[in-house]
Amino acid sequence: MVFEVLITSDRTMMSNHRGKEFLGFVATGPPLGMPEWLWMTLCAPRPKVDELGRPVEAPYGLRKIEAVLQNAGFNAAVVDPDYIHKHLDTAKVILIGHHDYFAYNPPSSEWWSITGREPVNRRSFMRFMNSPAMRKAKEKGAKIIVGGPAAWQWLYEPELMEKWGVDTVVDGEGEKVVVELASRALRGEPLPRYVYVGADNAPRVEEIPVIKAASVNGLVEIMRGCPRGCKFCSVTLRPLRFIPLEKILEEVEVNVRAGLKGIILHSEDVLLYHADGLKPKPEPILKLHSEVLSRMGEKRHLAWSHASLAAIVYAEESYGLISKLMNEVVLNEHRNYLGVEVGIETGSPALAKKIMVAKSLPYPPEKWPDVVEESFKIMHENKIIPAATVILGIPGETPDDVVKTTELIERLRPYRSIIVPMFFVPMGALKKNNWFLRDHLRPEHIEALAKMYEHTRYWALDILRFYMSSPVYLPFRLLLRYFVWFVDRHVKRYMSKLEEMVKK
């Protein structure tokens, strides 16, 4: 079998990250305390592939594009980056997706900014684009179309677009436009250099296809878009759609059949699945989880990609939904925790009002720090382990806002979690603003960074026991313990350097 349309990415994306989604984030940093090959071995091992280089698991976005193209009759497949050479004689179009092509997104950008060293995701992507197979494909006339959530980064790299012969950059939801572009490319018609997919070209729910093969770590989308309207976020620009339960279950079964060990329910706010506006409703959430888990079996683990802290508080206060869901539906002897990413972003009610006025709803933004603390308490008591983000350098932020964030982080100390700083990157409604870089740090930021590090360091080893409990992970636990030790040794030096820089 040969393919005319290849869908691919670099190694940091095309990996199951050892079945641990969080390890994927390790690829957003520079290799610290170990050589790059070991860093990549830890966080981005090669996936299993068939003889044509089709991976068993592939990034979810690429799987959606594959499904929509196959449904439209294209001879298309997701192919591992190391197997592009096998298809050079037939490939006429190469579609590339990525979360962070050039490491300009958080958290890559702040690891880069703080350490001054290039993150491995950027290096890996550069290697891929400079690889002999990609060069050869271009020489043979293949069209290269890039997209995904980091597509905007190409607008900052027009020289690389030219150098690598990137024909089209697609920014926005790809299901409809990719069929058009692939058709034009195969017919030899001119392609636009840049496409922004407006709301009029966003797919309706019935136009979003079911994936045909497994996604990395069993990611399954349950909603698209977000109603909260935070100004720093691009997802909120998309219309809100709930994926029907039947489609969700089909995708769960695709992953289970492929032998994956877990499922990640993906949404910007899992608890808002079929919610009443911003108020979670128990029935759809309980039904979703019961049905999904009944198809997963007892031993597979479950995670949420994202949930909002206000929804967690409301669901528990109004219906006792979190404790019911966790204790009666999710947890068992094999599933002893649920991981999720959550956004704190700021501890300042004044700043929350300016940039994320609906994030605390149905509670007022003035109560935001209390909502955050209460939600952390609820999660801690119900074995939900959050990886939380805090954004530093949001436009309009004052030193007092940062102090309030630091105070909130101190209040969160008793609750099992990790807290990751994000330097502001202009996205969403704020995308005309400037990047926040190391040069913009103030003493208050250094204090906040230190508090976040202390918090995460305090909980890190405890979380590792949950996260990598199987003996299979022993070498990686040891490697991560070594990494924690290494960072401990060097963090003071980094902080002192930053403080000196701020003084200057």
């Binding site: 607008l155 027009p158 069929v179 058009e180 636009p192 840049y194 922004y196 009029d200």
Partner: protein
């Protein structure tokens, strides 16, 4: 065998042609034109010798659009005749009048020197 023709993608139906380098005044006019015609989807065709510079000049404009479908093409002025634009062209913004020689006759009435 391809069975789909991409019909479900709504192609932009208004075109703005730019002859010459993209400058601040061109971007300003583009913002007006996007407000006026954005709902139809906007196709921008830049006829100039420098692709990289023009992408950089249009970056803020592209990033500030969070609503409408946009397609941008960058072509060599001598290839302009290969494009069939009319009747969808809503404006021809000219920053380099030397390039108007490559402009199809029927579009000359839409020229706006910026």
């Amino acid at each position: 065998m391809i069975t789909a023709t991409g019909d479900s993608y709504r192609k932009p139906s208004a075109t703005v042609l730019i002859l010459g380098e993209v400058n601040e005044r061109v971007v300003e006019r583009l913002r007006d034109l996007l407000r006026l015609h954005g709902a139809k989807g906007l196709r921008i065709v830049v006829a100039s010798s420098s692709v990289e510079k023009n992408i950089e000049a249009l970056r803020e404009f592209f990033l500030s659009n969070i609503t409408f479908t946009l397609e941008a093409y960058f072509v060599n002025p001598v290839d302009l005749e290969k494009f069939t634009f009319a009747p969808s062209v809503v404006s021809v913004l000219v920053s380099n009048p030397d390039y108007t020689g490559h402009l199809p006759e029927d579009l000359r009435s839409l020229v706006e020197v910026v």
